[in-house]
Amino acid sequence: MKYYYLTDESEKSLAPFFSKTVLSASFVSAVFLGVVLLMIWPRQPLSDFVLANEEPLAFFLVFTAALIISAYINLCCGCGDMIRRGYYIINYRTDMATFEKEIDFLRYGLIEFLWHTLILLLPFLPLLLLAASNSAASFTIFIAAVSILYAVSLFCRIFGFVVYLIWGRMNTLGYIVARAFLVAYLFGTIFLVPFINPINLLSLLSKSTYGVGYRFVFNMTVLTAIILLLISASHIMVKRHILKEETR
């Protein structure tokens, strides 16, 4: 089994760990999150919140910001937007098959995605802990919120990969479909199907609303089911590509 995604930084890798683009995106995201946290850090004393019976919004806002950022970066990684722009890509404007497309998905791509999504979330961890402490979120709520971040990021990553498998890396339609999906999923579902919307769920978690546990389980079950479907789809498409390449 080869793990090129760990070291390879060529145009053959969708989003390697040590790629400059991914590192920059990861750092800029952390800075952005840090700035958000500092901006919304309460200046008034805690007693004002207690008196008004209102909780600080740090938990909800920072986790939502982290969710949007992480979902977008992972979507881009899945779509192949973070591939290193090397000699081949700049000069020949055609798609080059990546390792993710050439190696069995369950043996390579899926493992890469699982790890990569987790590692991209890591720089957020101290900031997320600070935000959770500000809103006095319990450890259970914190873990639940982080698992939402991870699940949604993975979902976006695999969805992006499916788009990449269908339309390729350079396709305008694929580019639009991927972004439209992100907007529809993160924001459109707030109004249309709020019970599967992750931002809505984060809001409920931050308020510890009664029954939020069931809602969390439901949401995660739906998300896991969709992720499994996308994994199956990706696996089939990669398999077909490998077979096509072999017959060629």
């Binding site: 004393p45 007693s47 900031l127 402490s133 510890s208």
Partner: protein
Amino acid sequence: MLFTVIVIIGAAPLPAISASLSMEYSLGLNGRFQLHTWTPVTVVIENRGRATRGILEVIVTSGSEYHQNVFQTTYAIDVDLPHNSRKRYAFTVLIKSFTHEMIIRLKQNESIHISQSVDLRSHFSEKSFAVVADDFVSPDILAVLPKTIDPVNVPPKFLPETWYGYDSVKLLIMKTDSIRRLREKQFQALTQWIKQGGYLITAGSLNYGSLSDKRIQGILPINVLGQRRLFELKSLNDFCGRSLHSFESFLVLNVRMENSDVLARESDIPIIIQKHLGVGQIVFLAFDYNTQPFSNWDGRGLFWEKVLSMRSWIDPPRVSVDNNKIMDAMLANVPANFPNSQEVFMLISAYLGLLWYFMKKLRTSAERRWRNSCFIILIVFIFSLISYWRFFYPTNTKAFTYNSFCQLDVSGPNNVASAKYIIGLYALKKSAYRLGFGSFSNSITHILSQRAKKKTPEPYIIHENHIGQQIISFLDKWDHNFYSVTSKIKTPVVGKALRDNEHLTLAIENTLPHQIVDCLIYYNRRFVFINDIRANTRQHIKLKLADLRMTEMFYEEQAEHIINRLNVQATSSYLKTSQGNLTEDVILGIHAKFRSKRDSVVLMGWVQGAIIQPKFEQIYPGSKSLTLINWELPVEIAS
């Protein structure tokens, strides 16, 4: 066959518990109560069925729908009713509104066995009460009592079992024989009430055996010399402007009482004797007010007017401090607070700086890629740990905290102290709590800060059981509740003040484990700072009278100088914030109250600790406590 019979008997429904229970109640003082005062409610339950246990509840609703502040307070007592039993349960409830019915019910595991609603409209009064507590009273006596108060006759068995149950009583008229027959709890309540400023008029009768009762001797140390037969009481003319004459002779008791004042004397027989008990007073009448010739004397109205006017001599030492100012000081010092934003800024900057440094290295040098990656993970790990231990964990452990403020007013060298205790509970997470204050009954009520958005507190139950009273309630996320408790406690400071030609000497024993700080003495219209009074010590404080005379007399503008001297701006501690908020009210209150009392000295000091200890069940919240002591001491003149 036998099995069938057993099954049939087993399956037959047992008679409902409620069918065998009956309930009677007595509301207020013979069915009357004054709004916004604590009112006694006595419930008698008779159980003719099988033994049962449960919780007896009295639910009082206050507020109005218009103001959207309708709120129910539940007072509860554990009840145990054996077969064929009849038990009496006494409550003291605060009634703030007559528009809602009061509910009395017996509950067992959420099922209500018996319930009764009481319409309060016909029971309320706007006046305080003059209570004549006797089983047999001629209606005449009620008719001649002053019109400024509402006269009621209350059977002694329905008198309150708590001192604050006398909240609406201005004058209590009760014979010593009735006092002797009071239940122990009732007697203790009566004694406490008098000590805190109550007013009892009592009289002996022909049967004066009750006067030798041990309990009565404790409050009224009377020595009966015998009885005298008289035809007139001329001394009443000096007392109330009308003397009493009779064609037939009548008996008066010839008694003596130590440490008392004789207000009317017929030759050598004291007719009206006044005895101070704590801050309150007892007036003893040597004649029977219920029998002739007093019962048909035309001067009764004047007599009772005069008796009532003597109540104004009772002057509890309480200096009133605005609850909102206390709550503001408490809110400014909630034991939990957000981490400093500068500290958070430093942490985030350091984290992002290190992250940037190693990411840059990772991007530029390919050789040490793995080592730099490990550094990045290490940085994330270390900063996550810092965030957790420095911020996340402390916030979670301080999710439920409280602070308290106690104003202790003490009068005399060694009296019971009157404590106004306010506790503020703060929750960052939804928390249920059970809170008690010891085995004594205290008047407990919620208070709302003017700054708070909510118009009612979370529902709560004041539950009385074998360990005393407990507040059972919960707090929502990011919520607060304030409770005010009025209590009588043993004074933690004892001593005396002595004046000679040159010095005013205070001999003070502080029994508290905390020192009394920022002490001020008020004497002869002057405020003087004195040294802190050390914990658990007896010490003498000597003030030169010449120096005192040199000090400028207090005037209202001086309050600011005193506050400045307390250095309230120096730190934002609970002590300093409270001093900043409350000192002006307290010193102006002391000045207004004691300016004319040249024979007393007032000591005002602060204790950074709790005198009343709240007891929480199962939770151990972080806390801050502060006590303000106002102690009035009579000044003795050295011979």
